[in-house]
């Protein structure tokens, strides 16, 4: 009887804990939401590639698009130059963040640089993203690279 009473007490404590206050909010937003995610995934399991797309979001998808474009164009030893994130935000007013070179390499195995990278002189392709489309422009001369850097000079590359 006493054990039953203690069981009722412990059950009530647990229920009260997840039914009120901050813990309720957290429990609904996180563990329970993850649980629903689990149930959905069990019905339709995704491949590791799909999981990566869900997890890493738009920067990953764009990186893969660049990789595909590089493959389709048979680019040799490409080093991609990315437009600054502040350019997308301040000039184009879109919420887009290109990954930093380290992340881009992790996603694709390809080299990339930012406008302020110490190795920016190695860049031989400019990545331009407009309306969700990835365009790759060949940088053929150091002068052309200099012109690009000047064009984006007022936008500081940020994470």
């Amino acid at each position: 009887m006493k054990r039953l009473l203690l069981t009722i007490i412990s059950t009530s404590t647990v229920l009260l804990l997840v039914a009120f206050g901050k813990y309720r909010e957290w429990f609904l937003d996180k563990p329970l939401d993850y649980w629903y995610g689990f149930c959905a995934e069990v019905r339709h399991p995704g491949s590791p590639e799909e999981v990566r797309r869900i997890r890493y979001g738009l920067p990953y998808t764009l990186s893969r698009k660049i990789q595909e474009a590089a493959k389709a164009g048979q680019l040799h030893d490409p080093v991609f130059l990315f437009e600054p994130n502040s350019f997308y935000h301040d000039s184009l007013h879109i919420d887009l963040r290109m990954p930093e070179p380290a992340l881009f390499y992790y996603y694709t195995g390809l080299q990339g640089v930012w406008m302020n990278s110490p190795t920016v002189q190695k860049a031989n392709y400019l990545v331009v993203i407009r309306k969700g489309e990835v365009k790759i422009e060949h940088i053929q001369t150091p002068r052309q690279l200099q012109e690009i850097l000047t064009r984006y000079r007022s936008f500081t590359p940020t994470l």
Partner: protein, 471 residues
């Protein structure tokens, strides 16, 4: 299959180490402890292989894991003193695997904990959230290490001017390499083993002094600290660092108590070393425990030579870990250089700045509305229990005082570190460093005279019924 083999390997490695050091405890503490110790040992192996210029192939990585496990479980490494019977024998495998008895009133807590653990394990295995700190450093290095069989791989040819994460400890790299080689595309299943083992271990430690209802409730409140829970499935250094730091303190305190065995002091030092291997700045926190060791030795009237020897012995693994990860790894192994001195605060003697760090820590991490999103009500509960203990009993028990000291070390130590390294911002690095304070608070509550008194009353009341109904 691969996971089962890895789990068995971690267990036997850890179990061998525990037997070697003659660590004696409840079977249900030894079991999770063996997993944790095994993971700690195995995390070092890919890094050590690389230091010996051995390429990372499945045969070298898993071969070395198996060899270490075998070595630790053969008689070769058994200490000579083991047969003298000066200490109690370690747990036998049979007693560790004996059936577990659970009372009905433990079930609600255990069920909710199991649910939280399940969700965490699933997220960790299937949909792992990965922080930028991991992706732009250890995770990427591990990914290319598996492909190119070396940690010093092509990742270091990339423009890394936007990150310094490539210089962080090889702890994550080692474990990610092992799990990626075993066929897990995201690795990181090891984190679930750490989480599950640590949760089980804490529950058993709490039950040593508290009634299972109080133990379950306190553990649940700590597990439900939102920020801590998130890091149980998101790989970064801080969760593992917290686990081994806590274990280091636990065995340090235990080694001086009535249950302490001689190997436990060295085990504590080793665990602190593992914690420093994971996050090198833990060395500073480890050093803060030296006054405690000196104080206890002084009280026990130990000779000065022994006192110094114990202090050196306690700090030695941490110093070795620091030397390995910051000096050898960064300066002589990695193909790129890092100047740590440029990161230190040039105005260390400006104490007003240090004071502001502490103020920020309290206002941002403890008393702000945001802190509720980080820790739930756990810190407030600890403060309430502590105050009630002081007001009602006027005096804290010795273990409670020790754990209070540990809480103080983490708080003041982290503040000092933030002052020395301004990059350790209160809202980011120090916030995650705060994880280390939570298990110390938990054990502080487990040794609260008030809660122990309540537990004793509950147990007596409950047992009274059992005796009557049995009769």
């Amino acid at each position: 299959m691969a996971l089962t083999l890895l789990i068995i390997c971690h267990f036997f490695t850890g179990y061998g180490l525990l037997r070697l050091l003659r660590i004696d405890h409840k079977p249900l503490v030894i079991l999770p402890l063996a997993f944790l110790a095994g993971i700690a040992v195995d995390s070092l192996l890919p890094f050590l292989l690389q230091l010996c210029h051995c390429p990372l192939y499945p045969v070298t990585v898993f071969g070395s894991m198996g060899l270490v496990s075998l070595l630790l479980n053969t008689g070769w490494l058994r200490p000579v003193r083991a047969d003298r019977g000066t200490t109690r024998p370690s747990q036998t495998l049979k007693s560790i695997l004996s059936p577990i008895r659970i009372r009905s009133y433990e079930l609600p807590f255990l069920l909710l904990l199991s649910f939280l653990i399940f969700v965490s394990v699933w997220r960790c295995y299937y949909l792992p959230p990965t922080s930028r700190d991991a992706l732009s450093g250890p995770e990427a290095i591990a990914e290319y290490a598996v492909r190119e069989h070396t940690i010093a791989n092509s990742f270091f040819t990339v423009d890394l001017s936007t990150t310094n994460n490539q210089f962080k400890s090889p702890f994550l790299i080692g474990l990610q390499v092992i799990y990626k080689m075993a066929g897990f595309p995201f690795g990181q299943v090891w984190l679930s083993i750490v989480f599950v083992s640590f949760t089980c271990l804490l529950y058993q430690l709490l039950k040593l002094t508290l009634h299972p209802i109080l133990a379950g409730l306190l553990l649940l409140l700590m597990t439900m600290a939102p920020e801590l829970y998130a890091y149980s499935f998101m790989i970064l250094y801080d969760y593992s660092n917290m686990v081994f730091f806590f274990l280091g303190i636990y065995f340090l305190f235990r080694s001086d108590g009535k249950d302490g065995a001689p190997g436990e002091f060295f085990f504590a030092a080793l665990l602190m070393g593992v914690s420093t291997y994971i996050r090198s700045e833990t060395l500073v926190l480890a050093a803060f425990f030296l006054p405690l060791i000196v104080r206890k030795d002084w009280r026990n009237k130990k000779p000065l030579g022994k006192m110094v020897r114990r202090c050196v012995l306690f700090l030695l693994p941490s110093l070795a870990a620091y030397f390995l990860t910051t000096w050898l790894y960064i300066n002589y192994y990695l193909p790129v250089r890092y100047d740590i001195s440029s990161l230190t605060n040039p105005h260390l003697l400006q104490l007003s700045a240090l004071y502001h760090v502490y103020v920020n820590m309290v206002t941002e991490l403890v008393t702000s509305a945001w802190s509720l999103n980080l820790w739930g009500y756990f810190i407030f509960l600890w403060a309430a229990v502590f105050l009630a203990d002081v007001l009602v009993n006027r005096r804290l028990s010795r273990p409670a005082r020790d754990w209070l000291y540990a809480v103080g070390v983490v708080f003041f130590g982290l503040g000092l570190l933030s002052h020395i390294f301004p990059l350790m911002e209160v809202g980011l690095t120090i916030k995650r460093g705060f994880f280390k304070i939570l298990p110390s608070m938990l054990l502080s509550m487990a040794n609260s005279r008030l809660l122990i008194m309540l537990s004793t009353r509950m147990t007596r009341w409950e047992e009274g019924l059992v005796v009557r109904s049995g009769g």
